[in-house]
């Protein structure tokens, strides 16, 4: 009798524990989610209340400390409608300042949520009310812009339904929030990177790898990298050695599962809310049709895999016809780990999880040196002197006059190329279709058809050995001048990546048009991933007066100085 009772109690406790754990996820992120139909409200309406606080977070059998919104990781789904007036009150129950930035949302600058730029921040115990008219639709997200709170779980999805008919037809939708979780405090992660930049890298080249051939790199190539003091395996600064990659707050073991019925068109709204991880996303056995990027509709393009940089969003349509499960794979670009989730007709089903693929090797192109192009074009150059990277990797004459070439600049790309048509890092040789930036074509014609009246070049600079990052050789803490735009001027901004790392660059308050060969239909983005050693341009109509943040969305790069303020003036008529 006693035993039975204990067993029963255990069963109840276990059940309650499961239910309790699930309660820590908002409804849409609970495993077994039937999806978020437009009618199913999570947090919506005229008044939305959010509360920022501390929460325990459980993954892989361990419990850590998270900073959450309304007690969940990810934060609740906020669902707004284009044309409505949004009113979101945010209460801070932390003992430090907090904030919420509405990522990708067009709004008055004082509602953008960046402490020190848009507003003073939300002090402990205070409530700040964000109010703005909703002028757009699509998939977005929101997160803290205070310290490194975002890396501790303070992020969530934000979906805006269009007023008119959605050009994207679907029967069911799921929100897929990708993130990276560490039990280390993000400040400790950054401290370790400053102490030893390769601290988290467990995939470096080795003698064993040379002898076995597994490193896929010859001794002479390795010598060249070593001479330059550059690590060809420096793909991600923070890796699976400390990160657990999450899908909707679930680790690979927890296997978040979203349901579908065979024959349905399912829309996946995929958001990369990671602190430091770019992901390769694929669903083995299912092609994906990309219909939206960064909240803006694009002409449908079918792919088998795409890379999603930190802070980007992609909406894809899938059409599973079979009564079987599919695995959603979000593999870290350095292949040190993966997030994994399942799409299935019923709970409890799962599909094969593919193994991690080989870590990519960086190449000379990632250093902004195209050896092949040089051979063809360098008629007068002394080829002997270019042996083993003797080429000047830090030629000041290649820097714009306003760039500070100091200790924070390890290299200056000698021939940074436009790499928008290239497959992203590590996916060059995949046998299937991979999305490239030139595949993105805006569904609607671009509104501003004026030619840019001026150009502006900004270099993304860094020193991996000192873990310093900045724009034009300066960290934000060096009291840099803001980047100034005249209101409504149209500028072609060129970003040149002088480093061998990817940098997802985000501009607040605006969409910019990626100059990718589709004039008139250039895709609108709020975040663009600049390839290592690459360059790209975007056209910006600076139509949002005020001050805005402009930064790399890799949290540790931003926190190390890759950040600046964009000012759009005059402000006439802004304050009433």
């Amino acid at each position: 009798m006693a035993i039975e009772r204990r067993t029963l109690l255990k069963a109840i406790t276990a059940g309650a524990g499961f239910a309790g754990a699930q309660a820590l996820f908002p409804a849409w992120a609970q495993t077994g989610s039937r999806g978020v139909a437009p009618t199913l409200a999570t947090l919506s309406g005229r008044e939305i209340a959010l509360s920022v606080g501390h929460s325990p977070f459980n993954v892989g059998g361990r419990t850590g400390h998270a900073i959450t919104v309304n007690g969940t990781l990810p934060a609740p789904l906020i669902r707004l409608r284009e044309g409505q007036h949004a009113r979101l009150s945010v209460t801070n129950t932390l003992d430090e300042d907090t904030s919420i930035h509405w990522h990708g949302i067009l709004l008055p600058f004082q509602m953008d949520g960046v402490p020190g730029i848009s507003f003073p921040g939300i002090r402990p115990g205070e409530t700040f009310v964000y109010e703005f008219p909703v002028r757009q639709s699509g998939t977005y997200w929101y997160h803290s812009h205070s310290g490194l709170q975002e890396a501790m779980g303070h992020f969530g999805p934000l979906i805006i339904d269009p007023t008119g008919a959605d050009p994207v037809a679907y029967d069911r939708e799921h929100v897929i929030v990708l993130s990276d979780w560490s039990f280390l405090h993000p400040h400790e992660i950054l401290r370790r990177l400053k102490a030893s930049p390769g601290y988290f890298n467990q995939q470096r080249t080795t003698v064993a790898g040379l002898l076995s051939g597994e490193d896929r790199m010859s001794a002479s190539e390795r010598r060249m990298w070593a001479e330059m003091r550059m690590d060809p395996r420096d793909i991600s600064d923070v890796t699976g050695s400390t990160y657990t990659y999450l899908v909707n707050g679930h680790g690979p073991q927890e296997n978040w599962t979203g349901l579908f019925e065979p024959g349905e068109r399912v829309r996946l709204r995929i958001i990369n809310a990671s602190a430091m991880t770019n992901f390769n996303v694929r669903i083995p056995g299912l092609p994906m049709t990309v219909v939206q990027a960064d909240g803006e509709n694009v002409r449908p393009v079918e792919v088998d895999e795409f890379q999603i940089a930190v802070a980007e969003t992609y909406d894809v349509i899938i059409s599973p016809r079979e009564d079987r499960a599919y695995t959603i794979v979000s593999e870290a670009v350095d292949r040190s780990g993966m997030g994994r989730a399942t799409l299935a007709p019923r709970l409890g089903m799962s599909a094969e999880v593919p193994p991690l693929r080989q870590v990519p090797n960086l190449t000379m192109r990632d250093m902004g040196m195209d050896m092949g192009a040089m051979d063809h074009s360098a008629g007068g150059m002394d080829h002997g002197s270019m042996d083993h990277g003797d080429m000047n990797m830090r030629d000041r004459s290649l820097a714009p006059p306003n760039m500070a070439v100091g200790v924070g600049v390890q290299s200056i790309s000698p021939m940074a190329e436009n790499r928008l048509a290239e497959r992203p890092l590590g996916l060059e040789n995949e046998p299937h279709r991979v999305l490239v930036y030139t595949d993105l074509v805006a569904l609607n014609p671009n509104r501003d058809t004026r030619a840019p009246s001026r150009t502006l070049e900004i270099h993304l600079t860094g020193n991996m050995e000192r873990y310093m990052w900045g724009f034009d050789g300066r960290r934000f803490s060096e009291l840099v001048e803001p980047i100034r735009f005249e209101r409504d001027e149209r500028v072609r901004v060129t970003l040149v990546n002088d480093t061998m790392m990817q940098h997802p660059i985000h501009l607040h308050g605006h969409f910019f048009e990626l100059v990718n060969g589709h004039a008139g239909h250039q895709p609108l983005k709020h975040t663009v991933n600049v390839a290592p050693g690459g360059r790209l341009s975007f056209d910006l109509t600076a139509d949002a007066p005020g001050d805005w943040a402009f930064h790399c969305h890799m949290m540790m790069h931003m926190h190390s100085g890759m950040f600046n303020v964009v000012t759009v003036r005059p402000l006439d008529g802004v304050a009433s």
Binding site: F119, V207, A208, V407, R474, S477, V480, S560, D572
Partner: protein
């Protein structure tokens, strides 16, 4: 007791640091270095710039929020994005050595606290035989400034605790990363007696696997003049060459085994030979490397 201070002092300093380093308020603000191209001016738009010029509102948010609150938030934003102060502790060697005659111990550690450019740097090393008192120990307290992408210039003092006589010296050195990933350092020392000595060091991590690492290292010492107190003759005085194989269970716990050869050289060797001292030794070593 004084000798122990050489090792204990930096640890005390370091123990005090983590708390401070985690504190947001401790962020460093860098004064911009004088730069002929300073100003970050962008190409002026071909159109009239009067609109920008006439707009005197430097910080747009001051229109809506208390200017003092904005100024506070702005300061924090500036400090947080690039101005972080932090620390590191690198215990390169904490080891026991064995040869036919003696069992010895030695340590070699350094660490720093500060921002990206300016750092307080300390270094300590020492050795002794288990059955005797500490042979010698030293502690360097340095200001370290990043001067090139890979090298720091360091200046400060070195206090040595020696069998014969303690010494205080000024230090001027460089430390950094040379091509091919060689960790190198060189320093000159000027003692209160006016003696000038110098030291050069290099080490290299050869990764056999991700965790098994073979580290050759070398250290050379020089003297510009005879220093009779220390039985040192002018010129190259001594060398230390080591080879250590460590296994990194983690960056914080990497035990190793190795061998170390030390020898007095040149006139110093002659001098010590004449005194009947050992001038050369080869020891097997076992120890621990740790990075914090």
């Amino acid at each position: 007791m004084r000798m122990i201070a050489a090792f204990v002092a930096p640890l005390v300093l370091v123990a005090a640091m983590p708390a401070a380093a985690q504190d947001h308020a401790q962020h460093e603000t860098q004064t911009p270095a004088p730069d002929p191209h300073a100003g970050h001016e962008t190409t002026p738009p071909p159109q009239s710039t009067s609109a920008i010029g006439s707009d005197t509102q430097a910080n747009a948010a001051d229109l809506y929020f208390d200017a003092a609150a904005m100024a506070r938030a702005r300061q924090q934003l500036i400090a947080e994005n690039g101005g972080m102060r932090t620390y590191a502790v690198i215990v390169e060697r904490l080891e026991a050595g064995f040869d036919d005659d003696s069992e010895t111990y030695a340590w070699h550690a350094q660490g720093w606290y500060g921002g990206d450019i300016h750092r307080f740097w300390w270094k300590s090393e020492g050795e002794g035989a288990f059955e005797n008192e500490l042979d010698d120990a030293e502690l360097q307290l340095l200001y370290s400034r990043a001067v090139t992408p890979y090298f720091d210039l360091q200046a400060g003092v070195r206090q040595s605790y020696l069998e014969s006589k303690d010494r205080t010296e000024l230090v001027l050195g460089v430390q950094g990363l040379a091509p091919y990933w060689f960790e190198v350092g060189a320093a000159a020392f000027v003692s209160t007696e006016g003696d000038v000595t110098a030291r050069a060091e290099a080490e290299y991590d050869l990764r056999l696997t991700q965790r098994l690492i073979l580290q050759p290292s070398a250290e050379l010492n020089f003297a510009a003049q005879d220093i009779p107190d220390l039985d040192i003759g002018a010129g190259l005085t001594d060398a230390e060459v080591g080879l250590r194989l460590r296994y990194e269970f983690s960056r914080r716990f990497a035990p190793y085994v190795g061998v170390e050869w030390t020898s007095a050289l040149g006139e110093t060797r002659d001098l010590r030979d004449a005194l009947g001292e050992d001038t050369q030794s080869t020891r097997a070593v076992v120890g621990l490397r740790a990075l914090f």
